[in-house]
Amino acid sequence: MPAPPPNQSRQAHRTSRLVNIGIPYLWLGLFFLLPFVIVLQISVAEPALAQPPYTALWQWIDEGLLRIEINLRNFMLVGQDDLYLSALLNSLQVAFICTLLCLLLGYPMAYAIATAPERWRIILLMLIVLPFWTSFLIRVYAWIGILKSNGLLNDLLIWSGLIDTPLAILHTNTAIYIGVVYSYLPFMILPLYANLTRLDLSLLEAAADLGCRPMRAFLRVTLPLSMAGIVAGSMLVFIPVVGEFVIPDLLGGPGSLMIGKLLWTEFFSNKDWPLASALAILLLALLVVPFVMMQRLQQRMEGSRP
């Protein structure tokens, strides 16, 4: 078979490369950049009694005269009013604690699944994935039935004689922690599991041969090697939890101020789409920074490897 002329194949190669690179960029542009630009545009508008409820960014006044209005007051208000800052800090705190709890619970589970016999593994994984077959909303709602003052948990505790009066868990921060950890645990376990199954067990054998105790081998071999899984799982939990709305709304109380709920209020009760957009932009900026830092760290770690 005669080889194709070299320059034609190079061209084909270039086209396919362009397509391969182009598709993800197109995807990102269409579903990430474009919505972001729209939100950014709304964030510099002013609220108005109209449909949609904000002013247009530009307006043709006359022939050839274009008026562009950029309103930065929304960003200034977010900075001036400590309500937004405290909601943000509270959200970050909730997300951090929940991520930590998910990691503490999820790591042993992922480790156990990864080291379980082959035929058990699939069943255990199914058990992790199974709850997804029920709607997220229903599962969070079910926690109301479990946690409320005459709910399952309190009835059980009173029946067993451990407590006399029902514990007030529903509508507190504790309920939010329970709901979030329950809902997001699979997102921690699955990346960790994927990472841990690829762990080369001969490394642990080598460590044992060289006189390393199991605990120390775990800390010095397994844990560092699973760092990528830990980072991936933590990101998958931390980032959505910061903006979480459903769980704090259903399980939280009036005192649990989170940025997701505040966004809801601005959007629905106040019909202040511009302020809601400004908040969303700031939230995004705040989340991108640790993400980039984390990636830098990972790159440096990979770079330092022999």
């Binding site: 609220p47 409320k148 003052s149 009036p254 629905f268 106040n270």
Partner: protein, 363 residues
């Protein structure tokens, strides 16, 4: 031959799909706000297939309307301040009154009230009206406060000592700044619609003082919690509390719920029917309004949800327990204590809402 019949079948099915789409009515109404046979009765009479989605706050409805292309043909906003604002923004289609018979059966007093926000009653038709008062678990409240305690007062919620005694068995407030502030202002003996800074500060201080005893702020959750005995006092909408009452009776666990209009005054509101200007099927929406103008149909809703309607010819058709209940159809001396919310500018609403968010977060 066979291919031809396939093509025919295909064309026919495409046709039916279009026909079905044309004869569907998309309703967006409050939760628990129609009778069991309202939708089936409408479908039997008109052949139009109704689809009902529900919400539990005007804000959710409003957000969809302002975003546009909601896909709904008929919505049920509260007249003031919500429908008033929507009318100003031009969100509703003018009614084609040639398609609506029976508008003359509606209470002239209510129609003239609505005309103040909708000149000539051109866009909106009253659906139900009711009040915002107190849902009370009588036994639990009397156990906490004593047999002789007065129950028809906002003091159950806004007096810190009383609220402290009731906090353990549960107090809930509507998640709505206008409602809660006007109730607090009424309790303080001030104008319930006041936006005066001193008045609002006083009301905020009051709400802050009882805040530790409030279990939650929610606009529909209290229905089931009252019925289950999980709450002992809820600030709520009249019909919702009555529905909690009848659910409690059905459950038969001995929970007794009362609805009381506080002597300090309570808000009265009117929910209306309106057609969004981008409604896909305004004809079907008109048909539904016409159906709800029939005395029998609207009386069935009132009997089911315990809210008063504006149709004078429907009154004789109501169950006696609804018609004779002074908290559903209040006599003149009770009516005198009711007040209607006033209109507010967007800026005023925003400031009130921010104050509200801060209060709820206890900051």
């Amino acid at each position: 031959m066979q291919r031809a019949s396939f093509a025919l079948l295909f064309a026919l099915s495409a046709f039916t799909v279009v026909a079905v789409a044309e004869d569907t009515l998309h309703l967006y109404n409050w939760s628990d706000y129609v009778a069991e046979d309202t939708l089936s009765g409408f479908e039997a009479e008109t052949g139009i297939r109704p689809r009902l989605d529900v919400y539990d706050s005007n804000e959710v409805l409003e957000a969809k309307l302002f975003a546009g292309q909601s896909g709904y043909d008929l919505v049920f906003p509260t007249a003031r301040p919500f429908a008033a604002r929507h009318l100003k923004a031009g969100l509703y289609l003018p009614l084609d009154k040639t398609k609506l018979t029976g508008l003359d059966r509606l209470d002239p007093a209510i129609m003239s009230q609505l005309a103040s926000i909708d000149p000539d009653n051109a866009h909106i038709v009253p659906y139900m009206w009711g009040t915002s008062g107190l849902g009370v678990n009588r036994d639990k409240v009397q156990a906490a406060l004593g047999e002789a305690a007065d129950l028809d007062t906002w003091a159950l919620i806004f007096d810190p000592d009383t609220a402290a005694k009731l906090g353990d068995c549960g107090i809930s407030l509507l998640d709505d700044p206008t409602e809660v502030f006007s109730a607090a202002l009424a309790y303080l003996g001030k104008d319930p619609n006041s936006l005066d800074k001193a008045d609002l500060d006083a009301a905020s201080a009051l709400i802050k003082a009882v805040y530790p005893h409030v279990r939650y702020f929610h606009s529909s959750q209290y229905m089931s919690d009252l019925a289950n005995g999980d709450l002992c006092v809820a600030m709520g909408y009249s019909g919702d509390v009555f529905q909690a009452q009848s659910r409690a009776e059905e459950a038969g666990k001995g929970v007794v719920i009362d609805y009381l209009l506080p002597r300090e005054g309570a808000a009265v509101w009117i929910d209306v029917m309106a057609i969004p200007k981008d409604a896909p099927n305004p004809d079907a929406a008109h048909a539904f309004i016409a159906y709800m103008l029939q005395p029998g149909a609207i009386a069935a809703v009132s009997n089911a949800v315990y809210y008063a309607n504006a149709n004078l010819e429907a009154t004789p058709l109501l169950d006696e327990e609804v018609r004779e209940d002074p908290t559903i159809y209040p006599p003149a001396e009770v009516k005198a204590r009711l007040f209607a919310p006033s209109e507010r500018s967007d800026r005023e609403i925003r400031e009130l809402n921010r104050l509200w968010t801060r209060l709820k977060a206890n900051r």
